[in-house]
Every structure is written in structure tokens, then in C-alpha cells.
């Protein structure tokens, strides 16, 4: 099938998409946007988090066809701003595989709530797994980003 959607502000088209492909596969393998990561393919890890029509979703759980005509923003499409800088300043990046998904999730959290409490941060990021950091520095990053 042919898929048309807006990605990072630009109209994009993908041809010969097999119906079983996920939005994540289309982004990574057909549109040259491998920033969103695939760590579980079943909605458990949040590594693939992207915005679809302004709402964060797990791109691995979105069938390619469901993205038809929608507005998708990936980590590559976010302005390099306080969230990304805070991840660096806090030491919240180790292997970095979880980072793109977390950057999108934190970007969304702070857009909704500019001064979240620690329990609110934990709740908001409960769907993003990180195996390297134990999350302590990720919490620091959110606090730093919120304060800037």
C-alpha cells in the first residue's frame, strides 16, 4: 500500500508498505528516521515514542495504515532544546538506546506540566524502560529541564 503522512512538518510518502508493518518500521526503514528505537515491539519499553497528532504514542503499536494522513513528530523533529541539554548535563545518557523515547516523553510531560513533582515524573515516565541508569539521573534531567 501507499502511505501518506506528515513527518516532522513535511509531507512524506512511502510505497509498497506491507500491511503488517508498524509506523516504527516505516519511520526507521522507509523514511530514513532511525532515531526512534525498537527494543520490544510490544509497547513495553517506550523507546519508540513519537508524537502522533500531538499525543505521544508507541510507534511500534501503531500499524502503518493508522498513520495515514496523520501528523507525526519524531525525536529528530524536536528542536534541540532544554530537555536534550538537561539529559546531557545530568549524565542521564549511558548507552542512549532509551534516550530518544525518553526525550519525547519528557518533552510531552513538561509541555503539560512545567513543574512536575517527583511522583508525577515517575508516573509520567513509567512506560519508558532504561536498563543502564537506574533512572536517578533521568529524574535529575527532568528537574533540570523543568527549572530552565
Amino acid at each position: 500500500m501507499r502511505l501518506n503522512c506528515t513527518v516532522n512538518g513535511e509531507p512524506r510518502q512511502a510505497d509498497d508498505v506491507w500491511a503488517g508493518e508498524s509506523l516504527l518500521y516505516v519511520l526507521r526503514e522507509r523514511l530514513g528516521l532511525p532515531g526512534s528505537k525498537n527494543a520490544c515491539e510490544q509497547g513495553e519499553c517506550g523507546s519508540c515514542t513519537v508524537y502522533m497528532d500531538g499525543t505521544p504514542v508507541c510507534a511500534c503499536l501503531v500499524a502503518a495504515g493508522q498513520a495515514e494522513g496523520r501528523d507525526v513528530v519524531t525525536v529528530e523533529g524536536l528542536a534541540d532544546g532544554p530537555v536534550q541539554q538537561a539529559f546531557l548535563a545530568a549524565g542521564a545518557v549511558q548507552c542512549g538506546f532509551c534516550t530518544p523515547g525518553l526525550v519525547v516523553a519528557v518533552h510531552d510531560l513538561l509541555a503539560r506540566d512545567s513543574a512536575p513533582t517527583d511522583p508525577e515524573i515517575r508516573e509520567a515516565l513509567a512506560g519508558n524502560l532504561c536498563r543502564c541508569t537506574g533512572y536517578e539521573k533521568i529524574l535529575d534531567a527532568v528537574r533540570i529541564a523543568a527549572a530552565s
Binding site: C95, C130, T133
Partner: protein, 736 residues
Amino acid sequence: MTTVETQVISGVGTSPKRPDGGLKVRGEFAFSSDLWADDMLWGATLRSPHPHARIRGIDITAAVALPGVYAVLTQEDVPGAKRYGLEIADQPVLAMDEVRYQGEPVAVVAADHPETARRAAARIAVDYEVLPAVTEASLGVLLRHVPVRAGDPAAKADVVVTGEYQVGMQDQAFLGPESGLAVPAEDGGIDLYVATQWLHVDQKQVAECLGLPADKVRLSLAGVGGAFGAREDLSMQVHASLLALHTGRPVKMVYGREESFFGHVHRHPAKMWYEHGATRDGKLVYVKAKIVLDGGAYASSSTAVAANAATLGIGPYEVPNVVMDASVYYTNNPPCGAMRGFGAVQACFAYESQMDKLALELGLDPVEVRLRNAMTTGSRMPTGQIVEGPAPVASLLTRVRSFPPPPSSSGDLREMPGGVSNTTHGEGVVRGIGYGIGIKNVAFSEGFDDYATARVRLEVIGGEPAVLVHTAAAEVGQGLVTVQAQIARTELGVERVTVATADTSVGSAAPPSPPRQTTRTGAAVGAARQAVRTELLARVGGARLDGGKVLSESGTVVADLAASIGDEPIEKTVEWRHRPTYPLDPVTGQGNAHVQYAFAAHRATVDVDLDLGLVRVVEIVTAQDVGKAVNPLAVEGQIHGGTAQGLGLALMEEIQIVDGVVRNPSFTDYLIPTILDMPPMKVDILEMADPHSPYGLRGVGEPPTISSTPAIVAAIRAATGKALTRVPVRPEHIVE
């Protein structure tokens, strides 16, 4: 491949931002699963559904017939060695006449779409004759037995405590799955871009299996999404190379999460029997222990894991009389090998549980009984080796104990056991505190020639002095690239430091695991840079370097650094070796088998819902001696991450195997800690320089994984009074 270029602005002991960090936060860093080549094909692997079966035949006809399929290969297509392995070459590249564990690779396919490749693999007809599976270690074939004997084997004591303990099979669960890209080269060789911990060992094994000379198998490190030991063994390296050579096209292989559970080794499950004898005032007289490890179907690094379990298995304590037997067996369970903590984790759960039992028996505080037996510098290990470096065991324990206790529960549901499942508002919830301390060897042991090579080049680029650092060390997330640049900058005083991507064109970095890697490769970089510095100073007759100038002894400027280099760059390649280690005596286990020791202590505070058996960890305090914190932010991050993996083992992480079949190969069913499971972590870092290591470096990443597990379980015991002899602790163990 890319070169990571950076202006590192600070030296050893500060926390510069990681040079790869900017790419990672923008989603631009190329992990091994992100690689792409024109015209590339996708590989897929057919794996055995049976833990043990004879293969009577394989029919690939239907798979080959599928449009879009370019190759279907079985063991007959492996041109070189049919088996490989880290210690013993016992693992088939593709199964031959028999499969020995569920998930063993049987055939590989290349196709133009990953789904086509998977469907083709599913069309391969394998005729299996299912055989009985050995799934209990004690019934398996012995792979290695490591005895350690010290003092009087018949020693008697006033107070005796015994216990039987079990540790389940833990998975490294790195986030970035096994993946890589194999590109056939014009010279008949292969260029392999892969996420690995050990480029040169991969290269040797891949070349042997492909039947190619080593120089025709060129490996480059692609971005690694975590490792924790799981990337020491081969996974898709040979398979992708075979497919690429066969089709003449680049082949990418990326495991999904389920396949990843079958694609790497796990932490050895263990059964352990311990007997501790002590005087009435709590001094240990003897320890007798038997540790049985399930090695699974192939050897991997099992023999070294067993040696660690045996030599470190009584913990950081002075014990005059020891009878220790650690054994590892082949079974038809998934193969086990390296995971963070490497053989020291399982035993620590047992000996620390025993120390708590002893404290209870004697009516002593659990920290007090540990302090009375704590080893120090000069203590003798049960192997006879004298601990020469810092051993601040008592200090680490008193440090974690002296932290103020965490505040009592705020009442916020999110901080209750059960969380927003709304299972309790505090009724039936009891708090407990527990302690744990562990010991870990750093670097390889038993005479393994463990070295790292670094090349450092000092040259003038655009009128500025610049340093290029080139090693084969794998950046797997621990911040090694930053550390290498920091070390290079520290003695050359050059702002511009470039760390080239690791590949096999320099000598071995030999370090599978992060802590060892920072130490060894850091030492090699330090030594290479020293050599560059010496030559430069000799060239212009200076005494030291500072701020881009060459200075004399008295501090006057002799020459400009850039001018002294001119158009004659200085390049030095240095191999750095740890001081040698020696094999263990096969009967007594005596011998200086280890290079260094490292220690960490934890205090855990938990809230337990006694009615439902749900646990919430409220706080974890860690004290650790890191030798020298080259990069404090990264050191804290390693300690946090290691502690979190120990929490996972204590409470939730287990690969569940029934009759040799894995029941939970997904992140839905194999749970790793989320941000809601992790408590605030306080870290107290000691820096006691190691006399045997440049910069006093000591491994950082492993010790915190070892003792957080027993500390958490001790805290649950304190809250519940339950014996809790198995990890992970399940709710039913608490309510039963």
C-alpha cells in the same frame, strides 16, 4: 564509520559531557540496529523449538521457493570451523545432528524484507526426534569443579548456622537488541559492523568459522545499546557474514526482543548450601559451602564464572578455615555465561543471608557481625592470596549505616507497595532495613593474558595541537569514550582530543566488561600518551607541558607545543598488561588468581504489604570504593544502574524455564525495574587509589550489582520475619 570528534574540556576527576551524548539525545547516534546499506538484505534465524532433539533432516525447498528469498543456509554451508566458543569451542554455528537447547540456531535466511525472511525461516521443515532433556544442573555433565581449601577442614565452632539458597536465571536485558551489518568485500573478505564487547575475540572466532584469514574479517564497533556481559559471546556475527558472502550483498540482522532472549547467554542459576561456624562473640571460625551452577547447553564463560563463585564465595570476610566447592554443569537449559557481577552475584546472596542468620542467632546487629569479620588490606583470601590493595570493608559498612533513615511514608499512593493499583493506603504495611556487602575481582584471572592496546597520535591540525586516540575498546554505554579522551588530555594538556571508532585495525582491547575496560584501556591510553609526551619533551629539551607550551623545570617557556610538533607527528602504540595472575591449584584452590578486588556496600529500606506480599523499595544507599572516580557523574551512573539490576534480581527478574522451555521471553513477562520500581538512591563514593593501577583506577560497574540483592532481601526479612532463601522473592514467598 563515523569518528566521534570532540573538544573535551576537562581532565581526570571532572565530569565532562559525553562526546557521543549530543548525537544520542537528538536521535542521531547510529546504533548497530540503525545501519543501512544500499541493496541490503535482511537475515533471519530459524531456532530449535526443543531443548533437546536429534535432527534427522532439514528440507529448505519451501523456503527457497518463496519470492524475495536469496539464501537459506544450514550447517553444511559453514565453510570453516563448525563450532566456536569463548573458552571451549563447543557451540555450533548452526546445529548439526543435534540441538541442545530451545532457541539453538538451526538455519539462517536472507531476504529482501525482514518479514519475508521470517516467513521463509518458518517454511524450513526440520525433522526432529525429540530426546529427553536434562534440566537440573546436578543431573548434568560436569563442566568444571573448583575446590578451595583453607585451614582445617574439620574445624568446629560454638555457633553454627546453615542454609540452602537459590538464585534464578537473570537476563542482561540490554535495550538495544543484537544486531549488525555484514558487507561482502572485494577481496573476498567481510566488513562487519556490529555491537559487541570484544572486537578481537569476535574477529578470531568469525574468521575461523568463515574459513578466512583474520585480516579478511574486519570488524568495526557499531553503536552498542547496553551489554552487561551479554555481548561477550557471538550472536549474529557469523550468520550475517555467511549470508553476505553467499549472496554477495550486505546483510543486516536485528533480533527482536523475543529472539534476543534466545540470542545471548544469561546469568547462571545457582543452588547453594552454606554452613557458617562462629565463636560466641561472632568471629567466623569456618565456612563450608557447595555451589552448583547451571551452565546450560554450551560452555561460554562458565568455567571462569565457576572460579569466581569459588574464590569469592565466602565474601569480604576473614575466615581461617574454608571448604568450598563450586561446580558448573552442562544441561539442556539456555546457555549461561557472563553477566555483570560474573559469578560473584549468586554467592553474595547466600553468604550475606548467612551473615544475617548468624547475627540473629547471636543476637547481634547485622552490621556489627560483619564488622567483626571484615577483611582489610593484608587479609588472606581462602585461595591464600593476600589482599594488597585497599579493602575498606568496615568503612563502607559504617558509611551506609550512618546515613539518616529515609522519611516515613508520605501516604502518596505512588509510594505504596502496589502503587496506583490502590491495594493499600498503609494498612498492613511494615518497614524493614537490610544490609549487604560484596567482593568482586577486577580484570581477568587465572593467568589469562589480559591486555589492552592504545595508539595515541599528537599532531598539528589547523595550527592547533591535536590528539587522536585509537583503541579497540568497546563503548557500550559506560562512558568509555569520554574517559579515554579525559585521560589523553590530562597529561598532554591538549584541548582537542579525538577518539576514533573502535575497530580491529589496532591491537586487542580485550575487555568484555565496562569496569575492566575503563581500567585496562585507560591504562593503555595513559601509557601511550606518556610515551608521546616523553618523546616530545626529549625533542625540544623541555620538562613539562602546560597550556599548549613546553616548559622547562623552572617553568620558563621552552617552546610552543604546536611548533615543537611541527610537521612531524608523534605516534606511539602501547600494550598495557595487568600484573600477572596464576592458575588455581586444582585440588586446593590455592593461588594468586586475581589482580585486584573491589567492594561495595548497600543499605536497603523497604515497605512490605504483609497481606499481599507486595514490596516497595523506599531507598537504597550505596557506599563504594572506586579507586579514582575518573568521571564522577559516570561513576554515579554506573553505581545507580548496577544497583537497579540487583534490585531486579531481588524482586522480579527471572527467566522462567519449564522442562527446558523459556516461558517469558518478552518485556511483558520478563520484568525489569521501571522508574516506579526504583527508589531514590544515595551514593557515597570513596576514592582509595590502587597501587597497581595507573590513576588508581578500579572497576566500578560490577560491585554495586552484587550486594544490592541481599540488602533488599534482608530488608524484606526484617519486615516480614520470613526466611526468603530464593531470589527473585515473589509475593507468595511472603504471604505463604
